[in-house]
Symmetry: C2
Subunit: 337 residues, 2 copies
């Protein structure tokens, strides 16, 4: 039965286990440094579908089926699925998961959606509500560009602070037993807003949220950054990562030796023309469900934090000159001791 410790952190005494996980990526992701970590990659941006939106939905469908297969489970064995994405009204998730016939609880945390959904799934297992619960999310460069920015055909210039929306998905399944990796704590974040208005600099908008959630977690658990093998942020990119380290230093926390950012891991930022790094719900999701969990299962990482971050804006809010609020949700994973 879950227990609140400190102010914002929830301890999961039964330590729900990761029973299966899968990461999918597009062509650019397949050319990046994490190429070998994907279960499947696709050269065709449409994945053989009629539209990019259908392709993004298919990323979720395939990711969840692969994760279920690896856990030797059928959709009917799962009592709840938590999912969401960046598209208006989260259609990648609703269309991608409608055939599964699993109780569906839609989540929205922008690019933090995977940490939020995984935390929910772990919590539902720990509280006894589910034997097995799933989390999945996705993003797609082409659906995001045309929805949030400009038609791809326009070939717009990108600023150096801009990030590249990953074409990727990640899915994982939590259950009561089996599997070496378990969830020990989750921390749901508070909305922060430092007044950043530049939608081409979301790293800066999201860094304060990551700082807030990480500070709360270390304080609640009375631990320090050195207690973890690695502390992953979702997709702060170059600009947001530097800012996060500065903000945490002010709180007396030195993250520099442990920090890694999913947005900087997914691509070679020197060679792949992604400017400040990767972003999108699929970025943290695929790095978690590919690279991070593989490193843990291989014994190279024992004890990690993932604090994914989201920019809670829309094109309407930006056009109306609003600032960009951020949020960060955290999940603490470790090898079962």
């Amino acid at each position: 039965m879950p227990q609140r410790i400190g102010k914002d952190t929830i301890f999961l005494p039964s330590r729900p286990r990761v029973l299966g996980h899968a990461a999918l990526g597009g062509k650019k992701e397949a050319q990046g440094p994490l190429s070998a970590c994907f279960d499947q990659t696709f050269d065709d941006t449409r994945l053989g579908m009629k539209t990019w939106e259908q392709a993004e939905s298919k990323l979720q469908t395939e990711a969840i089926h692969l994760a279920l297969d690896k856990a030797a489970l059928a959709p009917g064995d799962v009592q709840a699925i938590f999912a969401g994405d960046l598209l208006n009204q989260c259609i990648s998730s609703t269309f991608g998961l409608r055939e599964l016939n699993i109780p569906f609880i839609g989540q929205y945390g922008a690019c933090s959606t995977m940490a939020q959904s995984a935390s929910m799934a772990a919590l539902f297992v720990d509280s006894g509500v589910c034997e097995t619960a799933a989390a999945v999310t996705s993003s797609h460069f082409c659906t995001a560009e045309r929805q949030f920015r400009l038609p791809l055909e326009y070939g717009g210039q990108r600023t150096p602070t801009a990030q590249w929306t990953a074409t990727a998905a990640g899915a994982l399944i939590f259950g009561k037993s089996g599997g070496e990796v378990c969830a020990e704590h989750v921390t749901f974040g508070r909305i922060t807003d430092f007044g950043i208005k530049d939608a081409a600099n979301m790293g800066a908008a999201m860094a304060p949220a990551a700082a807030s959630t990480l500070t709360a977690f270390f304080s609640d658990t009375q631990t320090k950054p050195e207690d973890y093998d690695a502390i992953f942020t979702g997709d702060l990119g170059k600009v947001g990562s530097a800012l996060l380290l500065q903000l945490l230093e002010k709180n007396g926390l030195d993250l520099s030796k442990r920090h890694r950012d999913c947005g900087l891991l997914l691509y070679d930022t020197e060679k792949q023309d992604v400017h400040a790094g990767g972003s999108g719900c699929g970025c943290a999701a695929s790095v978690l469900c590919g690279h991070i969990l593989q490193e843990m299962e291989a014994g190279r990482l024992q004890n990690i934090l993932l604090a994914a971050t989201g920019a809670l804006m829309s094109t309407t809010s930006s056009q109306q000159s609003e600032s960009i609020p951020g949020i960060s949700h955290l999940i603490h994973l470790r090898i079962r001791t």
Copy 2:
């Protein structure tokens, strides 16, 4: 500690209590049959703000503050807030709640968002994760029209099956003790899709989801419609309500004596030019947090179900000729025995 009963239903043994609730509405809602049930109504569609989107955010801010006041609580007393809305990337919630500094867990269930969020808040209290948890959602006729349909200035014609998006919000606070109304069960729904493609007939798209969730609930709890004083659906309107009764009849369930629909209660459908009835996240939210909870506290209703429904489409999915998947989440409320 919550317990799964049957296939999809979760029993909440500690029966979390409704500590405070508030309903807000616009001008049309103030002219409807539930006029006296609102805590506050607004003649100005902008609520004194610069944009309709800011006005909708303000509906959420005001609703949650009123609910907190009635519960004699401050924002700092609440450990989690569940919220979402119909606007792209749920900006009504994120902008409306950013000043509260409460851990924020964004939910998306289209017009079922209030039942989903309230269920989550009740569940978090029952599992011991929160002492106090909140749920809030909203919709606004003007923000919805321009996002989903046409600019208001165009004055487009509406078909008879179309529903009217409510300008309204509802908020409620669950806690461990205090308050007469408690949550006893929640049921998270499965996505259903009967292939309806007409975005001006969402009642028909959502009715199968309500039928699915209600059928699961009655089967899981081994109860029948007559065991409840009233069974409210979210916003099926005229078309969807008739269809729901037909679908349930096929499952051997006669809902006709107990069924009421929030979309038909909120307006006088003969006189108020709303065609098939009300809709929007704020419809079920304001009817629940105004009318329903007031009727319960006045002793006129003891034992009710609310099965809110959502149409999980976007303008993009409709323009791409996709069908409209539906979902329905259910919460069972009763007077504490």
